[in-house]
């Protein structure tokens, strides 16, 4: 009836090609994928060993990526967790301080969860901005790691277990890699197929709408911080096992690397946009890059410069930022100062 009035609301479903185009346009990982391909090609030409020695590369990706995966859960909700690296350190120290290995692992993971709960408590109940709350935790936990460990690395009681843990056990895969893959799959499934995880997007993308729709926003934020705390603790456990000792200074580069992985992967820091898969792509780019640069003998400082450039490249190629950049560049060349496309 009224449809015959001819108001046009829906759009036509196109053929296969346009269907594929639409599918691509809908994803947020496009730039991350393009960047990964770019990095891979450059690496292939200059330092193909990074691929032939792929176990090394995969190990590096797992190292950088695990914490980033957990962190992504929090960022999707528009919150930040700066305490992940300190969590990693303190959980490692807790684990190594307990003689019984199994008990130590359980304790470490529990501490990770508790840290997540405390973070969320400050954010949700007390109402502190998550940047500040988790910044406080960052210092607190790092200090705690030093106090518990008496400021020196704590030896793991069962060294054999640690040594065994560093060895491949599933084909060429070490337990670290397997855990990383499992964590990726679990989180990917969680934010795409599980209702609670899917609602993270609502909490980050339009919090008011989430509240109005009756989504338990506070509970979701608790879940997110607990995921991030747990995953950081898991990374701490893995580190401790592989090194057969827990170092209170551990993970100093982890924080920035995981944020970089998420951002390169297209995760929006203000929440609501991005994916676990994107973070995986981001971590993979970073991992390949680091291994390739190390193999070519580039110093760590210079590596950081390269990573910084890649990060900026990833961010400015975002369609929104790109528009700003092109606009500014244009007016610059036409002899005018920058432009700000806002109303």
């Amino acid at each position: 009836m009224s449809q015959a009035q001819g108001i046009q609301l829906g759009q036509e479903q196109g053929g296969l090609v346009s269907r594929i185009r639409v599918t691509i346009a809908r994803r947020t990982e496009g730039r991350a994928l393009a960047l990964l391909i770019l990095v891979a090609i450059a690496t292939w030409i200059t330092e193909p060993t990074a691929f032939t020695a792929w176990e090394v590369t995969l190990g590096r990706v797992a190292l950088i990526g695990l914490v980033a995966l957990g962190l992504t859960a929090v960022i999707l909700m528009g919150e930040l967790d700066l305490s992940v690296a300190s969590t990693l350190a303190v959980c490692g120290v807790v684990m190594a301080s307990i003689d019984n290995l199994a008990l130590g692992v359980v304790a470490a993971l529990a501490v990770g969860l508790i840290i997540g709960v405390v973070n969320a408590f400050f954010v949700v109940v007390v109402g502190i901005n998550s940047f500040i709350a988790s910044l406080g935790m960052l210092f607190f936990l790092r200090g705690a790691a030093f106090v518990i460990s008496n400021e020196e690395p704590v030896r793991l009681a069962s060294r054999d277990a640690g040594i065994a843990f560093g060895k491949p056990f599933l084909g060429p895969l070490t337990p670290r890699m397997v855990i990383f893959i499992v964590a990726f799959i679990a989180l990917q499934v969680f934010v795409t197929r599980v209702r609670a995880g899917r609602e993270f997007y609502a909490v980050g993308g339009n919090r008011e709408a989430a509240y109005d729709a009756g989504i338990p926003v506070r509970r979701r934020i608790f879940t997110g911080f607990m995921i991030s705390g747990f995953v950081a603790a898991l990374a701490g456990v893995i580190n401790t096992l592989e090194r057969t000792a827990a170092d209170p200074t551990a993970g100093s580069t982890v924080l920035l690397a995981s944020f970089a992985a998420a951002i390169i992967g297209g995760v929006l820091l203000t929440g609501g946009r991005g994916s676990i898969f994107g973070t995986l792509l981001g971590a993979t780019s970073l991992g390949i890059l680091q291994v390739a640069l190390t193999l070519t003998g580039v110093q760590v400082d210079v590596q950081n410069i390269v990573i910084g450039l890649v990060l900026l490249l990833a961010v400015i190629t975002d369609p929104n930022s790109l528009r700003t950049v092109v606009g500014s560049a244009r007016s610059l060349f036409q002899g005018r100062s920058g432009s700000h496309p806002v109303g």
Partner: protein, 517 residues
């Protein structure tokens, strides 16, 4: 379409047993009382209108009904039973569904996910995709709108988003459907479609509460109407017992001067101030445009025709792929290459998406108004506080901000009042060229008259004015010349004498050839 047989006959009249009641609801924000002892009741099958000026408390009352806000006093009663106060769950379970004034969808989630948001069907925590899509497609079917269920909301037009929101409300199988200014962003054709739909739904026994600033819409579909003013319920009347101008009088509490009808004294148009040539941008396929000093040029057309894209390209807010824009003042011609150069050359641009583009919600109204006017308000680059206050106050009064408290955060104001703040901040510049995109969307009738007067004053002062509006009466009332845009091109140009609703609409929809107009 009004010959729909089911509606007029089956719709129950007022006086039927109420399904939902607000009893003596009071809601305060800080010291201010937004809703003051208001009681209303709505029967199944009834379409109940709610009108009032910006800030009258309409949205607040509806948010109380939907359990989003906890009333300070009073209660919401459904089927004779009192609802748990301030619980969205309880309201949803009782069958109350609210379509918000602001779009409240999640941008990165899909149409289907948004429709079931908060009520996603799950099995052991996992989303039941098939069932979710079934619910979504049923709801869309119910309102007869076609849209790809897997499309993320960000990729939809504003109108489609609005319909997705209505689908979400429908998917909750409501017994009471509340719509808060649903037509503010819709074209006349889409509005028609929506109103027909609501009549059909009411015919099926749904109770509908309908908020709008457009009085004709109220008269077309509502059985009864309540008027709110400053949080008080002024009156509730049956629609057959009242005339449109009486409603308006009740809203503003005085007799509104019939300025709506006063035609504009034609100003001798001056030189061409704004000249756009061959503008191309996404959605714009080569448009030439001139605006003279003292002239008001209107851009008509359907939503999505490319008008917003055109003006954004002209001011440099978006990149244009081709074309030039020049501004010609004091005998010098200057190219506009970027948004910043546009502003420094005397442009003012009031964007369509005011909440996101035009307003810093956590800053005070006063600071928001001062923002683009810093140079006038500072000496040696130091802002002069005192001057800002008086400057902002004057402008806030001019646009009729309610309440007129310029030291409050912009985010605390009602939807329509936020629009006024954005307008005020640009009017203060006395610009050479002003571009207004939907200047009175969501603004009440009284303020609309004021804003129109301000725009005319600007033109009389020599400003070149370019107005985009989907509100046809507004366009016809304001513009000296109307360019009708369709598919990114100018489909036709109508002078003030030639333009009427029919001629604009037929150009806009491209039916002119068919009808031989």
């Amino acid at each position: 379409m009004s010959e729909n047989p089911t509606t007029e006959t089956t719709r129950q009249d007022a006086g039927g047993r109420a399904i939902i009641e607000a009893r003596n609801v009071v809601k305060r924000f800080g010291g201010a009382t937004a809703v003051d002892d208001v009681s209303i009741e709505v029967a199944p099958g009834e379409i109940y209108g709610l009108v009032g000026e910006n800030g009258a408390g309409k949205s607040t009352l509806m948010r109380v009904l939907a359990g989003i806000l906890t009333p300070d006093h009073g209660s919401v009663v459904v089927d004779g039973r009192e609802l748990e106060a301030g619980s969205t769950r309880a309201a949803l379970e009782a069958g109350i569904s609210l379509v918000h004034q602001e779009l409240s969808l999640v941008p990165e989630l899909t149409v289907a996910e948004n429709i079931v948001l908060g009520t996603t069907p799950v099995q052991a925590g996992f989303i039941k995709k098939r069932e979710m899509k079934k619910i979504a497609s049923d709801a869309l079917e119910e309102i007869r709108v076609q849209v790809d269920l897997d499309e993320p909301i960000v990729r939809l037009s504003v109108a489609l988003r609005q319909f997705v929101e209505i689908a979400r409300a429908i998917a909750r199988k409501p017994r009471v459907l509340i719509l808060d200014e649903p037509t503010a962003t819709l074209t006349p054709a889409e509005t028609d479609y929506l109103l027909d739909m609501l009549e059909r739904l009411a015919g099926q026994g749904l109770a509908i509460i309908y908020i709008s600033h457009r009085i004709p819409e109220i008269f077309r579909i509502c059985n009864r109407v309540s008027v709110l003013r400053d949080g008080h319920l002024v009156d509730t009347v049956s629609i057959s017992d009242i005339k449109p101008n009486e409603i308006v009088d009740k809203m503003v509490g005085r007799e509104l001067k019939q300025e709506l009808e006063t035609s504009r004294t034609k100003v001798a148009a001056g030189d061409v101030v704004l000249q756009a040539r061959g503008i191309k941008a996404p959605g714009v396929n080569g448009i030439d445009l001139d605006v003279r000093a003292g002239e008001i040029v209107g851009l008509g057309g359907l939503v999505g025709a490319g008008r917003t894209e055109l003006v954004r390209a002209i001011v440099g807010a978006d990149i244009k792929s081709a074309g030039t824009v020049t501004i010609n003042t004091d005998g010098t011609m200057r190219r506009v290459n970027s948004y910043r150069s546009a502003i420094s050359h005397g442009f003012a641009y009031v964007p369509e998406e005011r909440r996101t583009d035009g307003l810093a919600l956590t800053m005070t109204v006063s600071d928001n108004i001062a923002l683009p006017n810093r140079s006038q308000l500072s000496r040696y680059s130091v802002l002069m506080r005192g001057k800002i206050g008086t400057f902002a106050k004057e402008l806030a009064d001019a646009v009729g901000l309610r309440p007129p408290e310029i030291q409050r955060e912009a985010g605390d104001f009602s939807g329509g009042n936020q629009q006024k703040v954005v307008l005020a901040k640009w009017l203060g510049r006395k610009p050479d060229v002003i571009i207004l995109d939907e200047p009175t969307r969501g603004v009440d009738v009284g303020a609309k008259v004021e804003i129109h007067r301000l725009v005319r004053d600007l033109a009389e002062g020599g400003t070149a004015v370019l107005v985009v509006s989907s509100d046809l009466p507004e366009l016809l009332d304001l513009a000296d010349v109307i360019h009708v845009v369709r598919d990114g091109r100018i489909a036709g140009t109508l002078s003030r004498d030639e333009a009427d609703e029919k001629s604009v609409m037929s150009l806009a929809s491209g039916e002119s050839q068919v009808r031989g107009l």
